[in-house]
Symmetry: C2
Subunit: 351 residues, 2 copies
């Protein structure tokens, strides 16, 4: 059938503004392709804490579990960042949601648009043609291991733990994707120091045997942080654990010239969530200057996930059209630019 329930969590900062554009765009997609999208809104993050004391209210979790997919905006608020003693923080909502929905793989495509490479801090010849797919493990590792701070504030610890099964499931996704691409997987780890990294290396080496057409390479995370800047074109699929994935994918996000362009998908066995890579940028909140494209491209990944490929491609085409015609927000064009909703309207009109 062509009925889909989509949970919408606008979240904090610029989240609501950019998510509104995605919903607008999905509505016109629904019209054009005769789908029925039923949007159910729910709260998460700082706003949810201020209203309910809970960054992920039970109701929100239920809405997400019952949905075919979740569209999420952004999370985080300086009020909590500057208060290390806060017991409840917005990010806990997102982390709990990822865990509860079993979203074990965070997929971040890093692509450059030739017309935008002049915005990149890197030289054109270094970045042009970059096309990387990052697979970041999302519901284990140091994010979800045991945590402890003693009551006198004398010491604290965080445990990074991985099981073989956790590595296996995301590794298969990465290798399968590589088979459809340039057939190379780079495992990023710190196997010269960490036991968990050595487990990753061992398990992934084993899985690689099932994919004889794919080349497996290893890179220490410190070296990966260098190589990402020196020569991003060397990468096809990057596979890594949660914390290294957080750092390396944010680093990679600057390559194309704007983090405001980059979408992500978080995939589990029964659920999926789509969100821009960028954060909540509280400084930009309410100003109508936030770039909606990362959110709109996240909506395109949502359409992919629902196997609505034609619609997804139409949406991407519309985004490229907007970028090519310089119909963009101020992060991409200082001189002449459009507001968040004007960019959304332009994409809607094209579709």
């Amino acid at each position: 059938s062509h009925n889909y329930k989509i949970a919408v969590l606008p979240g904090d900062g610029i989240g609501p503004e950019v998510t509104a554009e995605s919903v607008k765009v999905l509505n016109v997609i629904a019209q054009a392709f005769q789908y029925n999208f039923q949007f159910e809104y729910a709260k998460m993050g700082a706003e949810a804490i201020f209203e309910t004391g809970n960054p992920l209210p039970e109701e929100t979790l239920t809405v997400c579990k019952n949905a075919d997919a979740v569209l999420f905006g952004a999370i985080g608020d300086p009020y909590f960042d500057n208060n290390p003693d806060a017991k409840v923080r917005p990010e806990q909502g997102l982390l709990k949601l990822r865990k509860e929905l079993g979203l074990f793989a965070n997929i971040r495509p890093i692509k450059t648009y030739t017309s935008l490479t002049k915005k990149s801090p890197l030289k054109k010849e270094v970045v042009d043609g970059t096309d990387i797919q990052i697979y970041r493990e999302l519901i284990s590792g140091i994010y979800f291991g045991e945590k402890f701070t003693d009551e006198n504030g004398e010491y604290a610890y965080d445990v990074c733990k991985y099981s073989k099964d956790e590595i296996v499931q995301i590794a298969h996704l990465a290798f399968q994707d590589a088979q459809k691409r340039r057939k190379k997987v780079t495992l990023v780890d710190k196997a010269n120091v960490l036991d968990t990294s050595r487990l990753w290396r061992k398990v992934v080496q084993e899985i690689a045997k099932d994919y004889p057409d794919v080349t497996l390479e290893f890179l220490f995370v410190d070296n990966a942080a260098m190589q990402m800047i020196l020569n991003p074109k060397q990468f096809d699929v990057i596979l890594t654990e949660n914390m290294f994935g957080d750092i390396i994918s944010d680093e990679a996000s600057v390559i194309g010239g704007s983090i405001g362009l980059l979408p992500s998908a978080s995939i589990g066995n029964d659920n999926a969530l789509f969100e821009p890579i960028h954060g909540s940028y509280p400084q930009a909140k309410g100003k109508g200057i936030a770039n909606p494209i990362a959110s709109i491209l996240s909506a395109a990944m949502l359409l992919d996930y629902l196997k609505l490929d034609v619609a997804a491609n139409k949406l991407r085409e519309a985004v490229e059209h907007a970028i090519d015609h310089r119909y963009v927000t101020e992060d991409l064009n200082k001189e002449q630019n459009y507001s968040t909703s004007e960019v959304g309207d332009f994409i809607v009109d094209y579709i």
Copy 2:
């Protein structure tokens, strides 16, 4: 007195070649300034394992403990990297040495040479004038916490632990350095996720009160990985924990155009070790193409540490002279270049 014992650990890969140039240069410094440097060589790393089974033989540790300072080359060998089951690995030698000597602060200056910025993957206007001092905690955190892999290889963990005292001692060094510089400290952490990061934030906020002339800023490590590329000039002193420091400082090392230029100092209360940031580059071993400048500038930091400031500055002047006259190895000049020892000779002649 002007007698100094310097332990020399050439290590693996290109370590011996570049260290030989530093010793050559230190010898001519000794002549010129009437110091007496007594060099004591010792083994560490892969070579030490192949000969003795131990990456840090007891004898090496004794030599280092009795020395006024340690000059170290590089560590690591592909034989061990590709063998996740190896029980003994070269890196363990370096980690144990850092711990045994109590080298709690790893200091990495990141500076650009205007004449070399065209080698940088980043645009000239982004990097020119970058001058960062990174303080990385070096003997705690996930590197030294409890590690475990179960015998069936079903799971593994690594514990990241920090005590307040460990944070206090390096934080003071960072603030004191900032007072002599542009008076800004940026603490890089992941306080929205980790208990240890929240402890860092709390302790460092407290210490900042002793340095009212220094501004303290906080940055999540994922954002820091972006900002380092978007606008490295915004940073003065960066303070961070062990693993984040490993990643961020290697990332930062590409800014200037060659990692072959960057020295580091590892400082404790009674000992200090000086080493280039670059690794052992086994592919380049024995070819005479390795850039000796990172090691030679590490020797300059060693002279600083011994309070031989005039000699240290002379050495830096000689290095700048070599760079300005394009008397460099092939990493810095593809068309016309000199061998590792020719560059060393040029610097010796200048002094």
